[in-house]
Amino acid sequence: MIYMDNAATTRMSERAFEAMRPYFMEQYANAAGTYSFANASKEAVENARRQTAKVIGAKSAEIYFTSGGTESDNWALKGVAEAYAAKGKHIIISAIEHHAILHSAQALQRKGWEVTVLPVDEYGMISVQELERAIRPDTVLVSIMAANNEIGTIQPLKAIGEICRAKGVLFHTDAVQAYAHIPLNVEEMHIDLLSASAHKFHGPKGVGILYVRKGVKLLPFMDGGAQERKRRAGTANVAGIVGMGAAAEEAAANMNAAMDKIAAIRDHMIARIEKEIPYCRLNGHRTERLPGNVNFCFRFIEGEGMLMLLDANGICASSGSACTSGSLDPSHVLLAIGLPHEIAHGSLRLSLSEETTMEEANKAVDALLEIIPRLRGMSPLYEDFVRNNQ
C-alpha cells in the first residue's frame, strides 16, 4: 500500500505510541485525583503541555487540551464571540476555512453575529489589504487558517497578525495542517488563539490543543468539572495528551530536515505530473505551500473514478469532487480559487509525510499515467474536446 492521505490522518509515531502505553493499564489514575497515585498522570499531562507549547513559542499555561481540531475551532470562534459580544458582534474568516470554522461562523450568524468572508486569489491566498479594510470598530475576531488542508496554501500569518494587533482585534488561526509541519511562533506572528490536532503529525486521534494567549477572554465550550483551569471540562485524556506531546516534540525536532525531504518529493511529483500529463492544473501556491501537499485538477474526468482506480493500485488519496463530499457541489476551496465546477470535480490530493519515499512517489505518478488516459478514454467531454480540436 502507498499511503498518500496524510492530510486526512497520519500513522502514529512509534515513540508517541510507546510514550502512551503506560497510561492505559499502569498509570491509569484520573489526573485530577488528590492521592499520590495520580501524580504521575498529572505530571505527564503538564509535561505534554510544555512539549506542545514549545513548538509554537507559547507558555505552557496558555495550552488547553481538547478532543481535536474541530473542538478547538468551535471553541475559539464561539467562545471568543460570546465573551466579547459587548464589544461587538462581527467576525472575519476566509472563504477557504475548514468546515469546523465555516460552520461555527454560520452558527454564530444564525445567532445574530455578522460574518465577513474574505475571498482568496487563484492561489488560495487572502489579501492583507482587504483584511485591513474589512476590520470594523465592532470586529472582535479574525480567523484565518495557517495552511489549507486541500490545496496546501500557507497564509501570510505574520502580516495578518500585525494588522490584527494594530487594530486591536483578536487573531485565531486554524493550524491543524501547519502545526509541527512548518515553523509557527505565536509571539512573532501575533497569534492570539491557535488550533492544532495530534493525529495530523503522527500523534493519536481524538486529542488536540487550543492555544489561548494569556489575557484573552474565552467562554467555556464544555461545561462540567474544573479541569484545564476551569476552561474545558472533562476528565483529561491522559494517554492521548501524552501521545500528542511526544509526537509534537518529535515532529518539531525533525521539522527542518523533514520539510526539505518532503518538499523535494512533492516538487518531483509536481514536476513529473506537469510534464507527463496534459490538461492538468496545479492547485494552490507554488512556493507558499505545505511541504507534503500535491493537488491537481485533471480536465475531462471526475475525482471519484481516479480514487477508485488508485485504490485498485493500492494507493490511498483523496479528492474534492462532489461524489466524495456527499453533496452535489465540489469543494468550496476549489470554487473559491475560481475553478469552474466541471474542473473542480476532477481534483486529486496526494498528501505526503516523512515516511513517503521517492519510489512511492514515482509509483503513484506512474499509476496516474495509466489511470487518467483510461478515464479520459471514457469521457464524453474529452471526446468533444478532441473532436473540436481536430
Binding site: 477508485m308 471514457m378 471526446e383
Partner: protein
C-alpha cells in the same frame, strides 16, 4: 460502499466507445453537477438494438450504470429498450448507495435520449417514448435505498 457487480462494471466497463454513423445518440447530464452520459445506438431494420456504446464523465457508479444499461439493451427491440428502467439497472448491479441512485436515472435517460434521437432521425414513432429532459433530478423516479 459499492457491490461487487458495480466494482466489476467500473473496473471492466462493457461497451465503452463510440459508434460511427450511429442510428441514435443521446447525451444527458451536465458537467457542473459532475456527470454526463452519452449513449450511441446501432439499430437494425427490425428495430432491434444491434449494438450500444457509451462515454461517461462521472463517478464510479455513473460509469457502472452506463456499462450495465448498454448490456441490458443490446439485443432488445426499441420498445423493450425504452422500458429498461433505472430500477432494472440498479437491480442488475445488486443495488447502489442512496446518494448514487441518480446515476441509474441518468443511464435510463441516456438510453431514452438516444432512442428519441433515433426516432427523430428515422421519422418514426416509438409508442410511449418521452422527449429527453434536461435535469434528471427533477424526474419522478423509483428510488431503491440500499445499504
Amino acid at each position: 460502499m459499492y457491490t461487487e457487480k458495480v466494482m466489476d462494471h467500473f473496473m471492466h466497463p462493457r461497451n465503452v466507445g463510440e459508434i460511427e454513423n450511429a442510428s441514435g445518440v443521446g447525451t444527458v447530464g451536465n458537467a457542473k453537477c459532475g456527470d454526463i452520459m452519452r449513449i450511441y445506438l446501432d439499430i437494425d431494420e427490425n428495430q432491434v438494438v444491434r449494438d450500444a456504446k457509451f462515454k461517461t464523465f462521472g463517478c464510479g457508479a455513473a460509469i457502472a450504470t452506463s456499462s450495465m444499461a448498454t448490456e441490458l439493451i443490446i439485443g432488445k427491440t426499441v420498445q423493450e429498450a425504452m422500458k429498461v428502467s433505472n430500477k432494472a439497472v440498479m437491480e442488475a448491479l445488486d443495488g447502489l448507495p442512496p446518494v448514487k441512485v441518480h446515476c441509474s436515472l441518468l443511464a435510463e435517460q441516456a438510453v431514452n435520449a438516444a432512442l428519441w434521437d433515433y426516432a427523430k432521425k428515422h421519422n418514426i414513432t416509438i409508442e410511449g417514448l418521452k422527449p429527453p429532459v434536461d435535469d434528471v433530478d427533477e424526474l419522478e423516479h423509483e428510488e431503491e435505498e440500499d445499504e
